[in-house]
Symmetry: C3
Subunit: 208 residues, 3 copies
C-alpha cells in the first residue's frame, strides 16, 4: 500500500468528486453535441474518453474499498454510490452515440431541451457529492436531492409531450421508433441521476 | 419537532400503510379507466392527484427518517421501502396517462385483464405492509409476497400471449408498437409490485 | 427444522452454487437453441424446466434465511444475491421464448454471437460464486467480476453494431422492431449477469 499524506477519509471524497465532475463534463459535451451537431464522431469520441476516465476512477475507488480498513461512509454505501455515479456517465455516452447510430440527421429542439435539463442535474450532483463530506451540510444535500427529482419530473414532462406528438402526427413507423428511442434514452440519464440522489439521500438518512 | 401522542414507531407504519392505500386506490382508478373508458382526462387527473398525495407522504416519511433517532425497522430498509412503494403509484400514473398519449381509442380486453391483476396485487401489498408491524405475522407476510410474485407471473403470461398475437397478426407497425408499449407498461406495474415484495421479504428475513 | 450433518454455512453456499449451475445450464441451452434452431418448443420447455428448478432453490434459500440464526454472509447480501441470480435465469428464459414469440424464422449470426458471450459469462458466475466460500480467494472473485463486466461491454458492442445496421438498412418497420427487441433482450441477460457481479463484489468489499 502506498504512503500518502492525504488522510484516507479525504481520498474517498476526492474520488467521488472526480466522478461527479465527469458527469458534469459528459453532460456539457452531450449538450454541445445536441446544439452544434457537427464533428459528430470526434465529439462522441470525446464523451467516450470521459467515460473511460470515469471508469478508471470507479475501479480505483472499488479497489481502495477492498484495501482500506476504515472508510468515511459505510463501505456498502460507497460501493453503491460509485456504481450509480458510473451509470450516469455510461448512459450519457449511450445516449450520445445513439444519435448517429439511429441515423439522426439533425437533433430536434426537444433533444436540446432534454440535454439542458441533464446539464442542470449534473451540476446538482456535483454539489450534493461535494457537500457529503460535511454533516453540517446534510440539509442542503437533501435540498439538492429534491431538485434532482424535480428535474427528472421536468424531463418526464418534455418526453411525454414529445411522444404524444409522435403518436399523433408521425405516420412513418421507423421515424416514430427512432425519435421515441432517442427521447427515452435521454430521459433515462435523468432517471440514473435520480438513482444517485436516492443513494445520497439514503446516506444522509442513515447518518443523520 | 412537534409533540405527538402517537409513538414514533406507529407513525412510520401509519405512513407506510397510507402509501399502500394509495397503491390500492390508484390501481382501482386504473381498472375503472380501463373498463369504462369515458371522461378519460378527468380520470387521469384523479390518478395524478393520488400520485401527488402519495408523493407527499413519501417525503414526510423521508423527512421523519432524517429527524427520528430510533426507527421501528432499519432506516435504510424504510428508505428503500418508501421509494419502491412510490414507484408503484408512479408507474400506475404513467400507464394510465399512456392510454390517451398513445392515442388509444378503446382499451382491448387484455388491458382490463392486466388491470384486474394489478388491483389484486395492490390488495396484497396493503395486507403485507399492514402485517409488517407485527413479527408474529411475518410468516403471513411471506405468504403475501409469494402471492405477489405469482400475480407478476400471471401478468407475464397475459402479456406474452398478447405480444405473440401482435407479432403474428398485426401488419400496421405503429399499431403494433402502440399496443406492445401499453401492455408492457401495465406489466411493469406488477414488476414494481414485485420489487416492493422483495424489499418486504428482505425485511422479514433480516428480522426473523 | 430438519437435522442435518452438513453445517449451515456450507448449505447456503451449496444452494448458491446450484443456482449458478442453473445459469450455466440455461445459457448452454439458449446457445444450443440459437445455433440449432429446431425442436424449438421442446428446447424452450427444457429452459423453462431449468427456470422452474432454479425458482425452487431460490425459495429454499429464502426460507432457510428466515429460519437460520447464523448465516455465512450478511442475510441481506444473501437475499440480494439469490434474487439477482434468479433474475439471470428468468431473463434467459424470456429471451429464449421471445424467438418463437416474435415469429423469428431463423436466428441471425449475431444472436449466436450474443449467446456465446452469455455462455462465457455464466461460467464466470459459477466460478465467482464457488470462490465466495473462501476469503483467501476474494482477489480472484474480484477478477471474475472484472471479466463479467468486460463481457457485458462485449455484448454492448455487438448490439450497437447490430442496431446501427438495422437503422441503416432495414426498411420494414416490424422487422426492425422484431430484431431490435431480440438483440436487446439477449443483451439484458448480460446486464443481469453484471448485476450479480456487482452484488458479489459488494460482498467482497464488505468482508475484505
Amino acid at each position: 500500500m502506498k504512503f500518502s499524506l492525504i488522510p484516507k477519509e479525504e481520498q474517498f471524497f476526492d474520488l467521488l468528486d472526480r466522478m461527479a465532475q465527469y458527469i458534469d463534463e459528459s453532460a456539457a459535451a452531450l449538450d454541445d453535441l445536441a446544439k452544434n451537431y457537427v464533428d459528430v464522431d470526434a465529439k462522441i469520441a470525446r464523451i467516450g474518453g470521459i467515460e473511460h476516465a470515469c471508469d478508471e476512477v470507479c475501479h480505483d475507488c472499488l479497489d481502495k474499498l477492498e484495501t482500506t480498513f476504515i472508510t468515511p461512509l459505510d463501505r456498502e454505501d460507497i460501493h453503491e454510490l460509485v456504481l450509480r455515479l458510473d451509470d450516469v456517465v455510461d448512459m450519457t455516452t449511450t445516449a450520445a452515440s445513439r444519435l448517429p447510430l439511429y441515423r439522426i440527421a439533425q437533433p430536434r429542439p426537444r433533444v436540446m431541451k432534454l440535454s439542458a435539463v441533464i446539464v442542470e442535474q449534473g451540476k446538482l450532483l456535483v454539489s450534493a457529492i461535494k457537500r457529503l463530506r460535511n454533516k453540517s451540510q446534510y440539509s442542503m444535500v437533501s435540498n439538492d436531492c429534491v431538485e434532482i427529482h424535480r428535474l427528472e419530473n421536468e424531463a418526464d414532462d418534455i418526453i411525454r409531450e414529445a411522444i404524444g406528438e409522435l403518436f399523433e402526427k408521425e405516420t412513418n413507423a421507423i421515424e416514430l421508433m427512432r425519435w421515441k428511442e432517442i427521447y427515452e434514452t435521454l430521459e433515462t440519464i435523468t432517471d440514473c441521476g435520480e438513482d444517485v440522489a436516492n443513494v445520497i439521500h439514503g446516506i444522509v438518512v442513515k447518518n443523520a
